[in-house]
Symmetry: C2
Subunit: 344 residues, 2 copies
């Protein structure tokens, strides 16, 4: 069955600083799988995980022990530490979810199995080269419409499935401040491929990907303690990942599944984290829109190393931070290759 | 109110060969507006229009009379003759609809005012340069998500609103043959901008556009009697229009509104019309994906003339038909300028 998957094929990665009571609601959907819990902040804190879940928990001490001098590429006091979980996983698929996200219901009132829908998205092809007006052509009850080239109907492998959020939408701090009460109540019953050459804001609240295809490009950058910026970890990963996926011929989907995002984070705290990003972004987007990777970059690792060079060459002038980030990107790939030796 | 519009701002263009009984169902939505009825086929046939509608009807004799030697650019015995209606209209907006399309209902059971929704789509900006994961950011209850560059939030003028179909989907003949019973029952509650650089299959069953912005690029080509191909009129217009819109910085939306498409056309007849298109298309798409218009093409007319030259230069080798088509594209623009003198 499409979307069905064995325990050996997926890890659920959850970054957190608190007890994982939210897992109770996910029990019917997550209990059969393995969790990687990324404990952020003070490693001496004890995080309680409800009984019955199978998990590994990593804290800062584990990161330092496992990565040694390379540990600096993993952020501290920031949710972006989740990418360490991608590094130590050995599974084909990753589903990562925030601990303030709950099970949503579809319009019929049925609880949505977000994990299953993500896997279904990842197991079916993407169509990045031409837009299908009836959305996902591989879905039951629909197809490619008249005028869709037949040579493109096979599609390409799907690297990423980006899910959405009912209730509290993923807004930046200025929008949060301007629209504190806005809630997303619209269930849009669609999955679509984001076309080749088009960038989008990838949010990590509800995200799945094929680790074998794109894992090395899923680095969440340097955020949190000691860094000048926050809340751009998933954006950075999304831009890098999209450029690499476009180059390698992989697809990126967005849309279903929804989950229920419970609590808006503090907009003033968010503004402090974001504000440099809000204007840096205006230079980053043209960079990612124009970046070009050479043909001999045939793996996500090679693409990512090349990207790090271009980041240093073209973004270093914005702020010294981008030189540090470019170095960390290289360290990340070194760590990836150490923990995931080629051919293994 | 968004989506509201005066009679002086819109024409509804309907190509037909039969009595327009289908208008009864549209009466509450269309009666206050002006219709342009394009009678296809034998001009001596009499087409009955229900009482109370304000319309002009044009048949082949009218086309010949008005366009004289340029009349050959308007197809005969093919719905693509509808573009003559775009030519003689003097309105800002065009809504064109097929005569086998009826009023659809939204999931709450409410009848959908397709015209109003199209106008709303055309009156609000598009966002072709970056994908917004919560779809149309200008819609009530939603916005741009975190990570969407602020410099792009103003959007660009919208040239085209492409609506969809419940019940009988717009499939090509092979898909019709393979899935004769497939019906579209999924109401996807979204409007989105098709990103810059991405082509899509534009269907004219349920289509609106800003005639002032993009009218000259809305030519439906040479189809029907005496031509080697049919059912690619709207596709051709859509590819040309998208390339021109991308160049001029206009947006193209797809999604809502739905209408109810009643009857699948005969797949065997369709196959006969389509079959050359099915393989020609494989060369047309790479052409349109790679076409580039020079900077001095600052109007839709200039873009279209330039496009006609490139069609002749690069597609003429596929079949002599494309040389004829390129010439007809020029004739179309001459006719457009004759009937719509600049500055008028």
């Amino acid at each position: 069955m499409l979307g069905s998957i064995s325990k050996g094929e997926v890890d659920i990665v959850i970054p957190t600083i608190r007890n994982l009571d939210f897992l109770e609601m996910w029990r019917p959907f997550f209990e059969a799988y393995h969790l990687i819990i990324m404990q952020d902040g003070d490693p001496s804190n004890v995080i309680k995980v409800p009984e019955g879940f199978d998990y590994d928990l990593y804290n800062r001490n584990d990161i330092n022990r496992i990565l040694g001098p390379k540990a600096h590429c993993i952020s501290f006091k920031d949710g972006s530490c989740r990418c360490f979980g991608f590094l130590v996983s050995k599974k084909k698929y990753i589903f990562t979810i925030d601990d303030d996200c709950f099970v949503a219901k579809d319009p019929s009132g049925k609880e949505i199995n977000a994990l299953q829908k993500h896997i279904e998205n990842l197991q079916t092809p993407s169509t990045p080269y031409f837009f299908n007006t009836l959305y996902d052509p591989y879905r039951e009850g629909t197809d490619f419409v008249r005028g869709y080239p037949f040579s493109l109907r096979e599609g390409v492998p799907t690297a990423v499935s980006h899910g959405l959020w009912l209730n509290v939408p993923d807004y930046d701090a200025p929008t949060q401040l301007v629209k504190p009460l806005e809630r997303n109540t619209r269930y849009v019953d669609a999955v679509m491929t984001i076309p080749k050459g088009t960038l989008f804001p990838m949010c990590a609240m509800n995200l799945a990907f094929n680790r074998e295809l794109i894992g090395p490009a899923m680095y969440f950058g340097l955020m949190g303690e000691g860094q000048p910026i926050g809340r751009y970890d998933d954006m950075w990963a999304g831009w890098c990942m999209k450029v690499v996926s476009d180059h390698l011929g992989f697809g990126v989907k967005t849309g279903l599944p929804y989950l229920w995002h419970n609590k808006a984070s503090n907009p003033f705290v968010n503004l402090k984290k974001e504000y440099k990003g809000l204007f840096w972004q205006e230079e980053l987007i043209p960079f990612f829109q124009s970046v070009s990777l050479p043909k001999d970059c045939t793996t996500a690792q090679k693409c990512y190393i090349e990207l790090s060079k271009q980041v240093k060459a073209r973004l270093g002038k914005i702020d010294e931070y981008f030189n540090k980030l470019a170095d960390a990107m290289v360290t990340w790939i070194e760590a990836w290759e150490e923990l995931n030796p080629s051919g293994a």
